[in-house]
């Protein structure tokens, strides 16, 4: 986990889309929002989940590893950058390999785009746009200590499990205290699709 990073607490998300609007204002992808806000059980529940790039550390950036054009740079501070515009060939390998479903692709422009932790801001010590505007603190930017000072008793996890594989990330999620020692489930293996049990 990076020192100063984003902590996501889906329990606090009210689905207001302020983060989505603010993300469009980021200078490195002006007019296009890179954050995803999904309603996990639309029509049945108000639960919503904001997703930013998790800046995978181990394995380091699967999106960059599968890129056939070496277009995705991981800077020394652990931030997985957007695809280099001169190199990206728009193959969508990163889009479909990302375990968190983060990168977006513009098929006309043959260009991948993704959350780069608002590098134009965070490189200068400012919080990313999404965390700046989030009214409920579902997206918090700072260190784990700063988060815990503000929210006593809160624990964070930076490991996610996808089937047999574990992915450790630079961005973390807020979890109940008893879940800290366990990786957060990533959704794989899939147990249910559209109300149907798909376990074999």
């Amino acid at each position: 986990m990076m020192g100063r990073t984003i902590f996501i607490d889906p329990g606090r998300c009210i689905g207001c889309q302020a983060c989505v609007s603010a993300c469009r204002e980021c200078d490195s992808h002006r007019g296009k929002s890179m954050i995803h806000l999904d309603y996990t059980d639309e029509g049945q529940s108000v639960a919503s989940l904001p997703t930013v790039c998790m800046h995978c550390e181990d394995p380091v950036a699967p999106c960059a590893e599968v890129c056939p054009a070496d277009a995705i740079l991981v800077t020394a501070d652990g931030v997985v950058q957007q695809a280099d515009t001169t190199r990206c060939i728009g193959c969508a390998n990163c889009v479909n390999a990302c375990p968190f479903g983060v990168p977006k692709i513009d098929l006309q422009a043959k260009l991948q785009m993704k959350c780069n932790l608002c590098y134009d801001r965070t490189a200068y010590g400012l919080a990313p746009m999404c965390a700046t505007v989030c009214p409920t603190g579902a997206l918090f930017y700072g260190t784990a200590e700063e988060l815990q000072a503000e929210r006593p008793g809160v624990q964070v996890a930076d490991s996610f499990v996808f089937g047999e594989s574990e992915v450790r990330t630079g961005v973390a999620m807020v979890v109940p205290a008893d879940r800290v020692q366990w990786p957060v489930p990533g959704g794989l293996p899939v147990v249910e699709i559209n109300g149907k049990d798909v376990r074999r």
């Binding site: 200078d27 002006r30 996990t40 056939p68 995705i72 479909n96 390999a97 089937g163 899939v190």
Partner: protein, 348 residues
Amino acid sequence: MRAGGLVPRSVTGRATAAGVIVSLLLVVAIVLGSRFLEHFDSALLPYAVATVFLAFGVAYRYTVWVSAPGAKRLFKKGWGSLFSVDNFRRAPTALPKMIATYLGFQKFLGARSHARWAAHQLIFWGCILASLITFPLTWGWFTFTSGTGSGPGYEMRIWGFKIIGFDSLDFLGWLMFHGLDIAAVLVIPGTSYFLWRRMKDRGAVTGQRFGYDLVPLIALIVISVTGLLLTFSSIFLHGGGYEFLAILHMVAVVFTLIYIPFGKFFHIVQRPAAVGMQLFKYTGRQDDEVFSCRRCEEPIDTTPYVDNLRGTMRDLSLGFDEWAEYCPRCKRVLRGSAYLSQVKKGFK
């Protein structure tokens, strides 16, 4: 840092061998094409040597690049689609169309920004023109000879064979002798736009690196301006400062040629891979092999593409390749549901 870590020794060995073979082939081609150096201009020797280094560097870097799992699989699929007789029979115009729209007119850049497209087209065609003139000239493949010694009648020869005769004082002659000036006039405005953008556009400024993003633009400007100044010197200054300018121009060109394989200009070598990728996907679509998300049933991509990606993920020991069968949105929703049911029930 790019993901992937150090290059294995077996790959560097193969890459070195490829570099040596390609550069030796170029040396042989220079010797034969210049009729055993009879037409070779020794004043252009530094340029010719730089192109040999360029050949080595490009072959080396290309070999390392296509040895990485992602590129290796795409390389095989792309070339496989290109040489498929079946593909050619079914859609003979697909490849030329892709080459023209993608590599020539770079339509995708227009979708990113019209201004960037226009500037890149100026640089692209300027560099193509300059390369078509300078490379054969420095290799001794092109010669301009005059029966009278000083013109105005000239003959253009390639590999010693006469191609055309022209009068240096007419329009064709002017074009022939000012091709590089025309190239410079195309490159300067395009490069200036990109330099301006690198200083003013906050999106471009974010994360830019001097060596990677600015040096190539500065190099193109220096080459073009010193090239034009050579013409200016010979026409208006009676050759004043010509030798200094010639050396400055040569240094800039040699540096740029050697830089190509290791910096931003390597995209010139990489970009054709995009055509291979497009052709590979196009073939899958022609066969109606579309893979749909296992959850929402929205199309993800072609089935051969998804299989290829899963293979790449397995090559890289990314043990969640099964996940590639779900669209990005469903991955997020399934993760949210898992969090809701297994981590923090209060989330509901």
